[in-house]
Point group: C2
Chain length 83, copies 2
Amino acid sequence: MYNATIIIKLKKGVLNPEGRTVLRALNHLGYDGVKDAKTFKCVELTLDGDNEEEVYNKVDDMCKKLLANPVIHDYEITLKKVE
Amino acid sequence: MYNATIIIKLKKGVLNPEGRTVLRALNHLGYDGVKDAKTFKCVELTLDGDNEEEVYNKVDDMCKKLLANPVIHDYEITLKKVE
């Protein structure tokens, strides 16, 4: 059994309107010290498997097919073995 | 200058329909080994400040006021000093 954490970020150069909105809202609330805000998404999966490499490849496949859009997203996979 | 990463998760017991949908979609795609899927959001802020405790309190304040909903969310703040 593995826990996979997938961090899905927008690629450099892709606009992040949600982050811009957060930044503007924080500045409006008086937090002038905030210079930049970015948002990104994470998915945590629990999945069967014994071989770390196999599990990694499977999760990578899921990212390409469903979880991320390779045109605009970069993603990072972290695996942790659990009982 | 600090980089603050804020991980915003739903509290235990709060339904995560997005995660359920991801789980179902992965199972439909043939990934039967996936037993659970949870999604959560992250915000990355770049903000001025020299004193770590002060910055932490400020970010905690932002979470309470804007970034998270304390009724349904738990959040985790990680600070990293940058130049």
